[in-house]
């Protein structure tokens, strides 16, 4: 039985059409079909946050969404967000503050953090910790990530009239 379906979606601004297995997760589709390997599969059951992506502007877990569910959607991955400069300030803060070590959680962490920076640039350290509490990082102990997100938040807040 053929359970594949054709989907058309916009990934990082490019329109793509593919025939995909109905069971394929969005993160596997991005990694295996489109070779966008910046989104990482850390647990494949929605706990670790390494596969965090933007779908139609909302942050989602790429391992909890099927590729076919993204038919017609706009998907932004770490590669697209890097190229567009959308999260450049946050990335710079992460690098300067060494808020990443092995870098495996980092794309998902940045996508999740960018959501907070955009929505609540006055977030307190406690709010930053709360917002990112669904993203596992085994290396840093989180302190540096909180510092980096805090500084990116304040930079954005400082620009707002």
């Amino acid at each position: 039985m053929d359970t594949s379906l054709e989907i058309t979606l916009t990934v990082n601004g490019e329109r793509v059409t593919r025939r995909v297995a109905a069971r394929q997760h969005l993160v596997d589709f991005l990694r295996e079909e489109l070779e966008l390997t910046g989104s990482h599969a850390g647990c494949e059951h929605g706990v670790c946050g390494a596969c965090t992506l933007r779908v139609d502007g909302q942050i989602v877990r790429g391992c909890l969404m099927l590729a076919v569910q993204a038919d017609g959607a706009r998907v932004d991955t770490i590669e697209g967000l890097s190229d567009s400069g959308a999260i450049a300030e946050l990335q710079k803060a992460f690098v300067e503050r060494n808020a990443l070590q092995c870098g495996f959680c980092t794309p998902g962490m940045l996508v999740a953090a960018a959501d907070l920076v955009e929505r609540n640039p006055m977030a307190s350290r406690a709010q930053i910790r709360e917002h990112l509490s669904g993203n596992f990082c085994r290396c840093t102990g989180y302190h540096a990530i909180v510092d980096a997100v805090e500084s990116a938040c304040r930079a954005v807040a400082g620009r707002k009239p």
């Binding site: 394929q24 690098v95 990443l100 930053i128 596992f136």
Partner: protein, 789 residues
């Protein structure tokens, strides 16, 4: 004002500069093993034993072999024809024994999760589709899961040919232990449990093996800490010369000791590449990671301490029992941790009497082996728990009892009760710094006033010693082909760029950054002029890799020496070109300058241009050697010990048993600090791993040997919202065993955090006469201690 070393041009030692490789990781443009795809690449999935102990009566793979996309189904018996088993023992751990372990179980599975059959298919999903089609008849055998029961003489042996379940046993008696206990004013004892937990690297174990049958060359892309060790392991058991195996290690998504061992399924993947003559990839999924990544700790230590009424520690005595699963892990063995516990108990203190016994026993659970801070958190929790108990009984402040017993800062070199030699430690400076940083007196006052309001806060201290910069005494003397030395090859490229290749490896701790910093400093170039290559057995000098806090201390020193040699060679060429005595020249900012005045004579790229492209203009007898290699091995001590001290401040909710971490302080002495920011972040990350063990993490097994929480929803790890900010400070006591003076820092956080947290919880529970000693200290455990459940 005098200039410090840091004011010299290109002086990067001691400077917090960003890591050169961080940018690509922040853009998702690293290359982890699973990101690599090769032509004709196949994927393997493993059928894993559902039983902790069972005989494989019969396997029928015919149906699975017909499943869509399947290339081949391979049993253990078939694989045994191309791959030999291994035995994880070391000769210097006297009497150690283990049984041969195959890449795929041949006739018996010894733990839940052991691979018993492999399916290779076009996609991972297709390989997994075929797994349930394998028809396997099992005969379940009694599972021996409890380590204490397994150790009892006469209990059934998991490997009957070994006679019993004792893998390794060590006993040590120093001084007059019985007399010390008999004559002590205070003797306290407790049984400390460090639970079985695991690494949970966010990038699962990953390997991609490719075999070219024409030249019998095996190329392995591997997420590993020790490429040369793995080259030897794969070659040896597949019957290939070492040099026919190339291990390439690109970005590694966390390791912490998890990725420094031989895994049966990874060797099996290499064997499958050989058998199928095509690339085969294996990436552990999270569920199989929990039952196959090495587990760690699982120690039950009975300990007691003898103390005089003045608070002087007279003796320690401990009995450690650890369960290691059915096989000692190859080639580092599963006996090292217990050995370390014996070595490290009481380490910071002046006592002279010590008795220890450690027993390492087989059981039908997943294998156990070395994980970040091997043995240290166990020894630290036992030592520091006992010291706090003694202080309580004496009515002495925990800081004061430590001050009275820590080895004096001017007592070095110092031979500890264990016989280990400490080059130079700084316990008292560290204690003073810690107490000042946390404002200990004010904190005690706060604690007392809050207690009156029914708020129960605790302060916990933990001092520790730490093994770093290991010599060949760690593994090499035991017969393991694990290098204690590392080499750095450094060259001047024609463009004036310095390229280093080195045997130590990067897993995110910043190895490549510190190598670049040392090289830039040593040669005299800006940091952006240095490139670092790691993780390729074909390219880098032979080396041990990164483990046991050796990257900076060993790899950094090799780099320093190589850089100095290259610099000298460059100046010889420059002297000829400039008609000057090389001693009057210097390299600064990638330029040859006049040493006295600093005035520029020639950029390095001009020297490179002439040396590489116009050597005809140089004298006939001048042979520019613009690429040099230097090796370094630490031979002065078995290990270069470091020390540190931590404190935890927390609040216990005595109604719910929940612990809220309020603050954590760490003082670390890792000798010369190459990059303060990287060291601080290593300490912070390590502290949180230690907190994970203390409060959350546990591989929960039932009596049948089934792991009951083998997924990320049920196995709890520290997440951002529960963690405190962590304050880090340093005392700097450089080692004289190297010119660089750097010691390790990567494991310190994990070594001390569990003890600090435990002591803080017990400090909070003191008014209730309650205490905890079994990690993890879950809310349930705390309520039990309070007799509320």
């Amino acid at each position: 004002m005098s200039l410090s070393e840091l004011d010299r041009p290109n002086s990067y030692i001691g400077r917090s500069v960003p890591r050169p490789n961080a940018r690509k990781l922040a853009e998702g443009r690293g290359q982890f093993t699973d990101d690599i795809r090769l032509p004709r690449m196949a994927h393997v999935a493993f059928l894993r034993s559902p039983y902790a102990h069972a005989r494989i009566v019969r396997i029928d793979t015919a149906k699975a072999a017909q499943s869509p996309g399947v290339f081949r189904v391979v049993t253990g018996r078939e694989m045994a024809k191309v791959c030999t088993p291994w035995v994880g023992v070391l000769a210097h751990l006297k009497g150690m024994k283990s049984a041969p372990q195959h890449p795929i179980a041949v006739e018996r599975a010894c733990w839940q999760g052991e691979a018993v059959c492999a399916v290779v298919a076009q996609t991972r999903a297709q390989a997994e589709d075929a797994l349930p089609l394998i028809d396997i008849e099992w005969q379940e055998l009694p599972a021996i899961t409890d380590a204490a029961a397994a150790a009892v003489p006469g209990s059934p042996a998991i490997h009957p040919e070994l006679g019993d379940n004792i893998c390794f046993q060590r006993e040590l008696t120093v001084g007059e232990v019985d007399a010390a206990f008999k004559g002590a004013d205070v003797v306290v004892e407790e049984t400390y449990v460090t639970g079985r937990h695991t690494g949970v690297c966010l990038e699962p174990r990953s390997i991609l093996a490719d075999f070219n049958p024409a030249d019998r060359q095996l190329t392995v892309y591997h997420s590993t800490q020790a490429p040369h060790m793995m080259q030897n392991v794969f070659a040896k058991h597949l019957g290939l010369p070492d040099t026919n195996v190339r291990v390439i290690c690109r970005d590694v998504g966390g390791s912490f000791g998890i990725k420094v061992h031989t895994y049966a399924d990874e060797v099996a993947t290499c064997a499958l590449a050989v058998m199928l003559k095509r690339p085969v990839k294996f990436v552990a999924d999270r569920l199989e990671s929990f039952v196959t990544d090495i587990h760690a700790r699982d120690h039950v230590v009975k300990g007691r301490i003898a103390v005089s009424k003045e608070g002087e520690i007279k003796a320690f005595e401990i009995d450690d029992l650890t369960g290691i699963g059915p096989y000692s892990v190859y080639p580092r063995t599963s006996g090292i941790e217990a050995n370390q516990v014996v070595n490290l108990i009481g380490g910071p203190y002046k006592h002279k009497n010590y008795r220890a016994r450690a027993r390492v026993v087989f059981q039908n659970k997943n294998v156990m082996c070395q994980y970040r801070a091997v043995g240290h958190p166990i020894a630290c929790a036992v030592t520091e728990g006992l010291v706090d108990l003694a202080a309580q009984k004496l009515g002495m402040d925990p800081a004061e009892i430590r001050r009275r017993n820590l080895i004096a800062d001017d007592a070095y070199p110092y031979t500890a009760a264990t016989g280990l030699v400490f080059e130079s430690l700084s316990h008292h400076k560290s204690l003073d710094k810690l107490l000042a940083m946390m404002d200990y007196k004010a904190l005690r006052a706060d604690q007392a006033s809050l207690r009156k309001k029914g708020i129960h806060r605790g302060i916990g201290l933990a001092s520790f010693i730490e093994v770093t910069n290991p010599s060949a005494m760690f593994y090499g003397v035991g017969g393991a082909r694990i290098s204690a030395q590392d080499g750095c090859t450094i060259r001047l490229d024609p463009s004036g760029v310095i390229t280093c290749s080195i045997g130590v490896t990067e897993q995110g701790q910043g190895t490549e950054a510190i190598v670049a910093q040392v090289a830039a400093t040593s040669v005299g170039v800006p940091l952006e002029r240095v490139r670092v290559i790691t993780g390729d057995t074909e390219i880098t000098p032979y080396g041990g890799g990164t483990w046991a806090s050796r990257g900076a201390g060993i790899g950094g020193e090799a780099t320093l020496q190589a850089g100095a040699a290259l610099r000298a060679n460059i100046l010889i060429v420059a002297g000829v070109m400039l008609q000057a005595d090389p001693a009057t020249l210097d390299i600064r900012e990638a330029k040859i300058v006049d040493a006295a005045t600093g005035s520029e004579r020639m950029p390095l790229e001009e020297l490179g241009r002439v040396a590489y492209f116009r050597p005809d203009t140089l004298p006939k007898d001048l042979k520019p050697e613009l690429m040099v290699t230097r090796h370094y091995v630490q031979k002065d001590y078995a290990f270069v010990f470091t020390n540190g001290m931590q404190a935890s401040y927390l609040e216990v909710d005595t109604e719910t048993g929940f612990v809220k971490l309020l603050n954590h302080w760490a003082v670390e002495d890792c000798g010369t600090v190459i990059n303060p920011q990287l060291v601080d972040e290593q300490v912070r990350g390590g502290v949180v791993q230690g907190i994970g063990a203390a409060l959350y993490e546990e591989c929960v097994y039932d009596a049948q040997g089934q792991m009951r929480n083998a997924n990320m929803a049920d196995y709890l790890v520290p997440m951002m919202v529960e963690m405190p900010d962590i304050q880090v400070a340093h005392v700097v006591t450089p080692t004289r065993s190297s010119a660089l003076g750097a010691k390790g820092a990567g494991e310190a956080g994990t070594a001390g955090a569990p003890a600090a947290v435990m002591n803080a919880i017990n400090d909070a529970l003191l008014p209730f006469g309650a205490r905890v000693a079994s990690q993890p200290f879950t809310p349930e455990a705390i309520l039990k201690a309070l007799a509320k459940v």
